[in-house]
């Protein structure tokens, strides 16, 4: 192999070959044609200068400020009406038309909603045809709750907690809710009023032993895996 190994010698080798070849006019034309094919004006390739950049930024700020002012002026209330006593200006101020409130009067929403029976009556549609769209009135739960005796302020004292001795709690006005809460807390702590706190004891019927199941109690054999009944289970007591 005659080709050198080092990069420097390889470059010298290629330079000597290039020198021996001479100028390749065809290749030179090819390069020129390729450059001309993508010819771009140098001015167009230059990046934006400082003045151009600042002009663009200023234009953007001005545009944003204009849009913001227009939006703010649109939200302001309409000018008051001129009375006859006040002098009329030569050029009356322009009052911007208020945008329609898009809450309940939106025609788009009304178009989608089914007509109510009242509307159907106005429109002359028979009531039977609107039966499918009839909206049945539902009771207002809060209005119904006000009829409960425990929440009625006009109910006689002791109505809800008759016999407990604390019917006066219901006589309080709605504005005295904190006092009511305190009295209620006291009622929970001391329900009998004499300091004794007693709850009714659970009554276990006679003849039912503790820990027995009801099947074993009536003499049936327990199922597999079921806890067996004690010996006394299933036997009738002499009292029964």
């Amino acid at each position: 192999m005659m080709k050198p190994e080092s990069p420097e010698d390889r470059l010298l080798d290629e330079l000597l070959r290039e020198q021996a070849h001479g100028t390749d006019v065809a290749f030179l034309r090819r390069i020129e044609a390729a450059v001309d094919a993508r010819h771009l004006p140098v001015v167009a390739q230059r990046p934006a200068t400082g003045s151009h950049r600042w002009l663009a930024i200023a234009a953007g700020i001005a545009l944003a400020a204009g849009v913001g002012m227009w939006w703010q002026s649109d939200d302001q209330p309409a000018a008051p009406k001129m009375t006859g006593a006040e002098p009329q200006p030569a050029n009356p101020p322009m009052v911007k038309k208020e945008r329609p409130k898009a809450v309940a009067e939106s025609p788009r929403k009304n178009r989608l909603a089914p007509p109510s029976p009242l509307d159907a009556t106005k429109m002359g549609i028979p009531d039977e045809r609107m039966a499918a769209n009839r909206i049945l009135p539902e009771p207002n739960p809060f209005r119904e709750m006000s009829k409960l005796p425990s929440l009625s302020t006009n109910y006689p004292a002791g109505g809800a907690l008759a016999g407990s001795g604390h019917g006066k709690l219901l006589e309080k006005l709605p504005g005295q809710a904190e006092d009511d809460r305190a009295e209620f807390a006291e009622l929970v702590r001391n329900p009998t009023g004499d300091g004794t706190h007693s709850l009714p004891a659970m009554v276990i019927p006679k003849g039912v032993p503790k820990g027995s199941n009801i099947k074993g109690h009536y003499g049936k054999p327990p199922l597999k895996g079921e806890m067996p009944a004690p010996e006394s289970a299933g036997k009738r007591s002499p009292n029964q």
Binding site: P7, D13, E18, L28
Partner: protein
């Protein structure tokens, strides 16, 4: 203005002419028109082609790399730093195009970063004053200074593309090993000449 071919003693008017021309072109780059860029292409395309052949290894790939590099340089000419060497900028573009080509065609990168650095250093050491524009002319001058035996070996091997090493040795009437040794000595002498004449 002095004609570039005029030589007075050891002062190479031609080399100074090339230096002045390169600086004038570099200073006028921001307002460069298409005609000036064509002049740069004419001055730089041959050394750049040799450089691309070292990278790519194949003449046709090297031509494509050089062509793409000039197109990219023209498209980005407004961003060129006039304080830099135009040839060095072009070599950087060729390197990037070559790496991109290797990635696209999944070819192995034959030269690593140390070899590329040595290559760049060699080019700069050979072209520090008149840049790439006069490199081939200085190489021709150095060839003329070679001893006859070495000059014949260089002529037999490089000036005829159809000959390989053995045929060149046969044309000189020497064996292949002697021819190879003479060729190596000729390369060393040429490198020393190029580095000494800057």
């Amino acid at each position: 203005m002095i004609h570039p071919d005029v030589t007075i003693g050891h002062v190479r008017i031609k080399a100074w002419w090339n230096v002045m021309k390169s600086f004038a072109i570099a200073l006028s780059l921001p307002d460069m028109d298409r005609q000036q860029f064509s002049e740069l292409i004419r001055d730089h395309h041959r050394p750049l082609l040799a450089y691309a052949r070292v990278l790519a290894g194949q003449p046709e790939r090297a031509r494509d790399l050089v062509q793409d590099a000039f197109v990219a340089a023209w498209q980005a000419i407004a961003r060129f730093d006039v304080t830099r060497d135009f040839g060095s900028w072009l070599r950087g573009i060729v390197r990037n195009k070559w790496r991109e080509d290797c990635r696209r065609h999944r070819r192995e990168v034959s030269l690593g970063d140390p070899e590329l650095a040595r290559l760049e250093e060699a080019v700069r050491s050979w072209t520090s004053d008149d840049r790439e524009a006069g490199l081939l002319e200085r190489l021709a001058e150095c060839r003329e200074k070679l001893p006859e035996a070495l000059a014949l070996a260089v002529h037999a091997y490089y000036d005829d593309d159809d000959r390989d090493g053995e045929q060149s040795a046969a044309s000189l009437g020497i064996n292949h090993a002697t021819f190879r040794k003479r060729l190596e000595r000729a390369r060393i002498a040429l490198r020393q000449c190029l580095e000494a004449t800057i």
